[in-house]
Amino acid sequence: MVFATKAFWVFLPTVLVLYHVARGRTHKYRILLVASWFFYAWLSPQYLWVILLCTTIDYVAGIKIEDAATDRGRRRWLALSVAANLGLLVAFKYTAFAYDNAVSLARLCGADVRDRVWDVLLPLGISFHTFQGISYTIDVYRGHVRAVRGAIDYALFVAFFPQLAAGPVVRAVEFLPQMATPPAVTARQAADGLHFVLLGLFKKLFVADHLDALVVAPVFADPAAFGPADHRWACLAWAAQIYCDFSGYSDIAVGLAKWFGFELPRNFNLPYLATSVPDFWRRWHLSLSTWLRDYLYFPLGGSRGGALATYRNLMVVFVACGLWHGATWPWLVYGLWNGVLMCLHRAWDHGLAGVPWAAAVRATWAWRLLAWAATLWLTTAGLVLVRMTSWESGAVLARSWCGLDLYAAAGSVPVWVPALVALVALGHVIGGLRGRVELPSAARAVAYVGIVVLLVALGPAAGRPFIYFVF
């Protein structure tokens, strides 16, 4: 029962009605909690115990940390919480990866080891809710938030269904204060919720799924059957697809939360307008990048320990970022790739600091345009790593992406692919104007109806699963 299924659109109105009809904080939150657990159980029934276990451990740990008389006691409970969350995450997500690599290593050493015949099914949203739990107990430890005394409140913070499966990674400090009294839904929230839900569905079902069917899936499956121009379009389309898929989910989550009166943090800020790799990571999956900054980069020392320590910390953070996404070598290399780019950018920045002409050049439009193009090229190259089906096919695609045969025949790319990629670019431009240009209600309503018509009539027959559901 994901957002783009009929079952969800029966579930949602039912929960909304029950929630808004219920009186009193306790009833409302109970309804929302039961609905969230039902949502989880629908998608991942065998693993309901995982989220219940995480919730229980972190809830108890939070209280114990706050009540502990000594710092040692507080540290002990914090360690328990972090170890439990990371332990579950590692057990479910990295066991198979570790086993496979151990097998390969053993074979290199001449041992006769059989391939893995088992697999580990990942519990729904485990990467997200374990990070939420860790951030909560750390924040309690640091004194940034008070421990939650109500079990229902804490369980709802972890399991709130709009963001349960694929984030954003909501922090206690962002969510818990909103729970003090059941937030009333304002007219503005109702309208904004509609905006975000429709926009998210459009991004996911119309843009991402169509790009996948039209070019990404066929070209990535067999790059040898296509030419360099097709490869380039496929890479670009993949960058557009993964953005629309993930930000589409985030938008729907934000919109749904508004219909319950809650505000979730935005997860994307027009990432393909970034003019540097650090800028890209300040715009892409914000809830994860800020989480890694606050709970990993800063504790490691951040940039306070000299250049080498900073580079080391950046690499650790980005390798963790890559592995958080997936326990595979391509994701690990993706993390390394971004870590190296971040380090190079930092070195470049430091090298140019104080050079009088550099600041002037970097302020020009021409430089910004060049920086934007270079950033797009580099980040898309990184994304190819995580979509390729094998290293060989990745190499074929990478050659084309880096190639200079710009005038190669367009091959078999349908005309709709450039149109959809252009639509994503247009979305970024319009997004950049938000706040400066406010559309009148009637125009917005017309646009929403247009989206509904496009989704119903021209959307894919069957929606594909959200990419980030497997993380």
Partner: protein, 374 residues
């Protein structure tokens, strides 16, 4: 406000400066009405209803680009009183060309107006409901072309409950076949719910229309969708104006013998898996009753299929033929047994493992004509 703007009164030097108090009293905020506060969602809802109604106004356009196969055939058949109606699942839809049978003389009377209500994927339960809708005036002769798949109780096909049934039919089904009450209710309600919105109901037709329009502006933009739209438009036209013979292009032109020679090995046939009979059969009894009540002569035509299929599912075909023999004996229904040999149907006459191709359909139709004339 009194006093605020008035001149200060005469004051001595020692007096403190007059205190001028300015109080800004904000007017109580005017609370906007519900509609004004929620103008975007409300406008959206209103426009959505208007759009949906507008889509409904162009229903014929969408229907021509993507007909509801069952509904279109039923409506076309019901348009005029028929002398002879063929009804059945896809083996009949692909295997009988009514124009070749029209004009046959049976019992001294010519059967002029002929139509084939061939419902791809239909079971006997669906066929019964199709007959009720397609024949407001009972025809003189009703030929139900069936094969083993029609009676398989392991099969549940949602198209019938979606397109052919009324609330009364649903109640009848629940009484007659209680073991599938939940299934039929769910699919019937889904079908009804799908018709609440014109946009949703005609979404495929709109998609096909849009592909054709896009093709006109940007040739080659959606070749596969246009091909599909093309076939559907042709089919819609045939169903609307013809006699119900609108074969699928792939099957009509297909050759099972050639496929076999090329190494094609037919996979399992899911419509004959887990074969059991009895529940759908109840609707065949109802069909016999309906025909008897209306004075319609009912003939059960055992539609031939490939020898490979019969050999692979020999037990299923034996059970099915046993049921036909029971009906013939107990209810006095005439069963027309047209074998492959008598109709001259080799593998070359089949488009796939169960459906006749165009040439095969012509042969079977001619054979049926001969049998009817006897």
């Amino acid at each position: 406000m009194p006093g605020v703007n008035s001149e200060p009164v005469a004051a001595t030097r020692l007096d403190p400066p007059p205190a001028v108090r300015v109080a800004v009293v904000a007017a109580p905020e005017r609370r906007e009405g519900f509609l004004r506060r929620n103008r975007t969602p409300v406008t959206f809802a209103v426009l959505l209803v208007v759009t949906d109604a507008t889509v409904g106004r162009f229903a014929t356009v969408w229907d021509r680009h993507s007909p509801d196969d069952y509904a279109a055939r039923v409506i076309a058949c019901a348009r005029e009183p028929r002398d002879l109606v063929f009804v059945g699942g896809s083996p009949l839809a692909e295997g009988i060309a009514p124009d070749r049978v029209a004009g046959v003389v049976r019992g001294g009377r010519e059967l002029k107006s002929v139509y084939a209500v061939g419902l791809s994927g239909a079971t006997t339960s669906d066929v019964y409901h199709a007959v009720l809708r397609a024949c407001p005036a009972p025809p003189r002769v009703l030929v139900y072309g069936l094969t083993a798949t029609d009676l398989n109780d392991a099969r549940h096909e949602p198209h019938g409950p979606h397109s052919l049934m009324t609330w009364g039919d649903l109640a009848g089904w629940v009484r007659l076949r209680p073991e599938s009450a939940e299934w039929v209710t769910r699919h019937f309600v889904q079908g009804r719910a799908g018709r609440v919105s014109n946009l949703f109901h005609y979404r495929h037709g709109i998609r096909m229309w849009a592909a054709c329009e896009a093709e006109a502006v940007l040739p080659g933009s959606s070749p596969e969708t246009v091909r599909e739209a093309d076939e559907l438009r042709e089919r819609a036209e045939l169903l609307r104006t013809g006699s119900g013979y609108a074969p699928a292009r792939g099957i009509a032109a297909g050759r099972y013998d050639a496929a076999k020679a090329a190494g094609f090995a037919p996979p399992g046939f899911p419509f004959l898996e887990k074969y059991r009979t009895g529940s759908h059969l109840k609707y065949l009894h109802k069909l016999i009753d309906w025909c008897a009540a209306g004075g319609t002569e009912l003939i059960l035509l055992d539609v031939p299929v490939t020898a490979d299929l019969e050999a692979r599912y020999a037990a299923a075909f034996a059970e099915y033929r046993g049921r036909l023999a029971d009906l013939e004996r107990d209810r006095g229904v005439r069963v027309m047994r047209v074998t492959r040999e008598t109709a001259g149907l080799t593998d070359a006459a089949f488009g796939d493992v169960i459906h006749l191709n165009r040439a095969g359909a012509a042969r079977l139709s001619d054979r049926v004509r001969t049998e009817l004339a006897r």
